[in-house]
């Protein structure tokens, strides 16, 4: 008798109760949400491609598009769509910004996470996050009204708007974000690693350099890549501080024009469907692809982090 009852008690493992159905319900809900997010992204990509794709057939020529630095879309008699100068403009500004921002933000992250303690750490973290929240137009304003006269004074150049100004501003913008993400990566290194290393008599710097940094390596690389993505996609501050003139730069004081700034400044004035309009959307495709590749790389790097 007793054993019969026991078997019966076990049968409920074969019964799907309400908790089981709720579980399935939420699984499906999450699936639908996830799929719709993916669907939205694909729609955006589809829209940009649809608007810009026909440009590849008609006025597009590979040589002109990628190798010419003449961007003259509004010319009636002889329009030209060379983006070389724009690409170099974006690359030089972003590159300069990263040259400044990467070392600073990594050091700041190491300081906040490993060396600062108590009050100092809390205050610094809040300040860095506050910096990250400053709108880009404000940064552009700082570049125009403070950096511009400063550069003219210091270096005795006629115009202070160019790679230098734009790079510094962009670096200042990207640094807080990179610092925050890098600090998160360092924080994620378990404390018992530090304790085990310190128990060997390692100094704080030795622990940081030999144990914490290697353990957080992937997260730090991801932070840098996201910073680059941020710099690459930034529009307003670059538009305001780069001088916005088409130019193949030869010195850091030269004015340049960025891909993003070109789209922002020109799209409002083009006729929908015109060659110019489609050319700008092709720039959009290019930007989309580059940021996609950067984010994907960051993602793969972080995934590598989890496997270890």
């Amino acid at each position: 008798m007793n054993s019969d009852k026991k078997v019966l008690v076990c049968q409920d493992m074969d019964v799907r109760d309400s908790a089981w159905y709720w579980d399935k319900f939420f699984q499906i809900l999450m699936l639908v949400s996830g799929v719709s997010a993916i669907f939205l992204i694909i729609s955006i990509f589809f829209f940009i491609t649809k608007e810009g794709f026909s440009f590849f057939f008609e006025p597009f020529s590979f040589r002109e598009f990628f190798l010419s630095s003449v961007w003259r879309p509004t010319s009636l008699s002889n329009p030209s769509y060379g983006i070389l100068a724009l690409v170099i403009g974006t690359a030089s500004v972003t590159g300069f910004a990263m040259l400044l921002a990467v070392p600073f933000s990594l050091c700041a992250a190491i300081f906040i996470s490993e060396f600062a303690s108590g009050r100092v750490r809390e205050v610094l973290k809040v300040l860095v996050e506050l910096l990250a929240a400053i709108p880009s137009v404000v940064w552009g304003f700082i570049g125009l009204s403070i950096m511009n006269p400063l550069i003219i004074d210091l270096f005795d150049v006629p115009v202070g708007l160019g790679i230098l100004n734009s790079g510094i501003i962009l670096g200042l913008m990207a640094a807080p974000i990179m610092t925050t993400i890098a600090e998160d990566a360092l924080k994620a290194v378990p404390d018992h690693y530090r304790e085990a290393a310190e128990a060997l008599g390692a100094t704080k710097w030795q622990v940081t350099f030999r144990v914490v940094l290697p353990a957080a390596k992937n997260g730090l690389v991801a932070a840098i890549l996201l910073g680059i993505g941020r710099g690459f996609g930034e529009t307003m501050a670059v538009l305001m501080t780069s001088g916005h003139s088409i130019n193949l730069p030869t010195s850091p004081f030269d004015s340049v024009r960025a891909l993003t700034a070109t789209i922002a400044a020109e799209l409002g004035e083009t006729a929908v469907g015109s060659d110019h309009y489609r050319a700008l959307f092709t720039l959009g495709i290019l930007l989309f692809l580059v940021t996609f590749v950067i984010n994907l790389t960051a993602d793969i790097v972080v995934k590598g982090n989890k496997r270890h």
């Binding site: 019969d4 026991k6 493992m13 074969d14 799907r16 089981w20």
Partner: protein
């Protein structure tokens, strides 16, 4: 129909990680209301065995379980409600995992998930489980503190209390005494002896003497193979069949 005095019946079980066989068990019975000991060196497949019973292979893509595990008359791999299955099986992992909840909520979680809302009843369950896990005296005045902040040994006992709170039919203990001092280990062992009135206990351990103190029957695993099952006493009186078992128990190994 399976013999009702048998809680777990394992037949032709193979556990693989990717393509490497981690464990092979042709035939193994665990009886109702016994403490069943499993001994064997590291990497012998003890933990894989426990994971297979609980269908933990679903958390690990590379882990693959084949063969039959019958628990309470049902085939584990074909049970329709895996959550109800896991509710019947309490597990204590070797490294304690105090959930980031208060001590009280750690123990009250499973009863709450089963729908118990009555405060008095929950209080009673929490107290009973913490007493059984030999932790109550140390934490009764700070039940609202975070469970994950307890010391290693205390967290281990917290996980035992948590496993008991779900009133399992089967309790899987994977080296529970690894972070617990000898005095407390003895107290928990005494509790286990009482618990077998209510449930079946599978005890995986590195301490052969612990098996001798607690279990009626013991299995010896070696390199993913079930070498021998028998009365625990036979392991220590030298009446086991396999020379490797004798060597391991006597400590002449490797």
């Amino acid at each position: 129909m399976v013999d009702p005095s048998i809680e777990i019946l394992v037949q032709d079980l193979t556990v693989r990680y990717d393509n490497d066989i981690a464990l092979r068990v042709d035939n193994l019975e665990i009886r109702k209301n016994e403490i069943f000991g499993i001994i064997g060196p590291a990497g012998s497949g003890k933990t894989s065995f426990l994971n297979a019973i609980n269908r933990m292979d679903e958390f690990n893509d590379s882990m693959n379980v084949q063969g039959s595990i019958n628990f309470g008359g049902l085939e584990v791999s074909r049970v329709k409600n895996v959550y109800a299955l896991r509710k019947k099986i309490g597990v204590v992992f070797p490294l304690p995992v105090g959930l980031p909840l208060s001590i009280y909520e750690n123990v009250a979680l499973s009863p709450r998930l089963s729908g118990i809302k009555d405060k008095i009843k929950l209080d009673e369950i929490v107290e009973r489980c913490l007493i059984r896990a030999a932790l109550w005296e140390e934490v009764k005045d700070r039940l609202q503190q975070l469970g994950s902040l307890l010391s290693g040994g205390q967290q281990q006992r917290l996980t035992i209390a948590r496993a008991l709170s779900q009133e399992p039919k089967l309790l899987l203990l994977d080296e529970f005494s690894i972070a617990v001092d000898p005095v407390t280990t003895m107290r928990i062992e005494d509790v286990l002896k009482e618990l077998k009135e209510e449930m079946t206990v599978v005890l995986v351990t590195n301490l052969v003497q612990q098996v001798r103190r607690l279990s009626e029957r013991t299995a010896f695993f070696l390199n993913g193979e079930l070498v021998e099952v028998g009365e625990t006493e036979d392991f220590f009186t030298g009446t086991v069949e396999d020379q490797r078992t004798r060597d391991y128990v006597e400590g002449h190994f490797g």
